[in-house]
Symmetry: C2
Subunit: 411 residues, 2 copies
């Protein structure tokens, strides 16, 4: 008998019928003898409906009151799922974030979890009850209602699993696991049985949208085994765990992530003096523009070209900010390019295998795809290429690294 935390997202509880199917799935886990804690999002569309009401009231509703408003969404689903479980003869109890004291700081709209009082849930579980908790929400030290921000329900589930020392935290979603790359781009993309937290973090930050980065970080930090599964079909999903250091079985590359949302900005002819990088990126940061990749090369005439990527939506704003900066610095010009894409190869096996970068560049060269920027970490290599070559690059890399094949015999 294990303790399982299951999280279902907005699409999974989007209609009354879907809530009833979720109930059946929860009941099956209970029937297998496990203790079950369920974490729910609001019905899909409900949060937007509530936000629309707020914006009909005023242009800039306060963050505190927005949280009071939108948290009603999950409160509705936890009540409905509990009713469905009860009507099937199971004992169930719903709790809001405040009721199980998911204690957060007071950053309304993007609060961070500080602690959870697991006692009440423990008592219910010991009485054989299924516990249904509202995701996405918490309460600050003064009892104000807070929300955790985007993907908050995943984070709630992982935090509950950590606090309850659950055996597994299952994230039910509309895909059946984590793939070697997006199956819509590469038909032979393969579902991974396992992936490490580190790899999942890199995949997520490189554009793979299966899980929110925060919840993966949280799960890694507290070592909560995380499983991604489909709420619409049966299957083992993908288990996200610590790197168990089994190099024999370690695939070199786990997956290929990509991202079309970035734009490239280059400041050309920057005088090569100390502090130039700060003078460029400081004003960008002050304008609240997030920067992803950064590359700097020393040029010929004691000047340098400074290139970085930002979200496409912020390209114009960043360019505007930099025009003044470039003038002050005596740089030659500011160029921007939105027609780029980023491709990242991710895998913990890279650590122990030289030559991954070389092979990647070779595969791209064979397809005559020019690499505009390169950035590497211990378990990731990212390149920026012209956007129109994105699919071609991903497919070539996927087949070049033979990702469609199982890296070793399944046990």
């Amino acid at each position: 008998m294990a303790l399982i935390v299951q999280k279902y997202g907005g699409t999974s509880v989007g209609t009354i019928d879907r809530i009833k199917s979720v109930a059946k799935r929860v009941e099956r886990t209970r029937d297998e003898g496990h203790d079950v804690v369920v974490v729910l999002s609001a019905m899909s569309g409900e949060t937007n409906r509530l936000l629309a009401l707020a914006h009909d009231i005023c242009a800039k509703p306060s963050a505190r009151e927005l949280d009071v408003l939108v948290t009603t969404g999950e409160q509705v689903t936890i009540a409905l799922l509990s009713m469905a479980l009860q009507s099937d003869g199971y004992e169930a109890r719903s709790y809001t974030g405040a009721q199980v004291r998911i204690l957060t700081d007071d950053s309304f709209g993007k609060a961070r979890i500080q602690g959870i009082d697991a006692e009440r849930i423990g008592t219910d579980l010991s009485k054989g009850r299924i516990v249904v908790v509202a995701g996405f929400q918490g309460v600050d030290g003064e009892g104000n209602i807070t929300t955790l921000g985007r993907g908050g329900s995943d984070t709630s589930a992982v935090a509950l699993a950590a606090a309850l020392k659950a055996d597994e935290c299952q994230i039910y979603t509309d895909v059946d696991g984590v793939y070697t790359t997006d199956p819509r781009v590469v038909g032979s993309a393969r579902r991974l049985d396992r992936i490490t937290f580190e790899e999942m973090l890199e995949m997520a930050s490189q554009g793979s949208k299966v899980l929110q980065i925060r919840s993966v970080e949280f799960a890694g930090k507290y070592n909560v085994p995380l499983r991604v599964l489909s709420s619409f079909e049966d299957g083992p999903g993908t288990l996200i765990t610590v790197d168990e250091e089994e190099p024999m079985e370690q695939p070199v590359i786990s997956g290929i992530a990509f991202n079309r949302d970035e734009a490239k900005i280059t400041v050309r002819g920057v005088p090569d003096i100390p502090g130039a990088a700060y003078k460029i990126l400081g004003p960008v940061g002050h304008a609240n523009i997030e920067v992803d990749m950064i590359v700097q090369n020393v040029g010929a005439d004691n000047t340098t070209d400074f290139t970085f990527t930002v979200h496409k939506n912020e390209m114009e704003k960043a360019t505007e900010v930099l025009k003044n900066v470039a003038a002050e610095l005596g740089a030659r010009e500011v160029q921007s390019d939105a027609s780029v894409a980023k491709v990242s190869m991710v895998g913990v096996g890279m650590r122990s295998h030289a030559g991954v970068a070389a092979k990647m560049f070779e595969i791209l060269a064979n397809e005559v795809i020019n690499i505009q920027m390169i950035s590497t970490s211990e378990i990731k290599i990212s390149v920026v290429i012209e956007e129109k070559y994105l699919e071609l690059a991903v497919r070539a890399l996927h087949s070049g690294f033979e990702l469609e094949k199982e890296p070793f015999e399944s046990k």
Copy 2:
């Protein structure tokens, strides 16, 4: 400067525009220098929408989970009103029932208030904030969400006013006060400037739907001055206070209430033995049927006729229950009649004025209206008559007692 509690019902906050008008009304009170606590219902229709979701899930949802579900309705309105106040430049804070600890027993769906922690609200008021509280809801000793049942928001408002020692509790509704009788029946019906708690209780229990009985009881018990006003037009409304014992100015009759919802059941030829009344009403009570008027007369041949009224919806059920009882008792027969109506004259002045009953019967006799049952209390006389004469009776009594005239000069 006074402390005013204002309660707005579902119709008053039924749309975004109406919520904005409520905000303006609240702000006007604040601008007059008063501290304001606002209590809100859910937007009209919202509670029914939520109940429909529950009944799509299962036929008999649990009371605990229903309370979790429906309390989201007021949580939405308190957030929206707070946003509206803030966007007009006023400091405001919303609180759920749980957040201001409206402590109740654990009778989900019909909980009773046991206490309120006024401290948090007091702190906000002292900082100049408008406090917006969700009506209808509370929390039990273990932190479970509860609701107060029908008319619960009025009760929340009165309880808050009592706990905060407010100067006045204003109930905003879709009528502009309490009338001598229903203006749809008697065109010359007059709005009362004042009415006592006792009279209001009798009016409410006799069918006048302006305020819920519980909230009036509560206000009377804690001596909270209660004012009924319209949320759509300006005006002084009706103040409900204690009987200030000013007999000179006391009108004999304050108003005429009536009720078409009752049916009359008569058990004929009941042997006149001790315990007969209990043997008849016991099974009716056990069947959860509420009984209103009860009349018993000794008949000729050591038998008695026993008559009482129930809600029309329960007439058949009550008759069914009584058929067996009548057979056991050796009673002659059970008759029921749904085509009756009850008319009640209410007024604390009755206490000191003899002859009110006689005058009432005279007026009805002049209209050739037969009286089927009579029941009296210190400040009320009720009669049951044939339903088709209801309007005639109410108009005749209203004009016979000159209720369209001010009983004394307004001060």
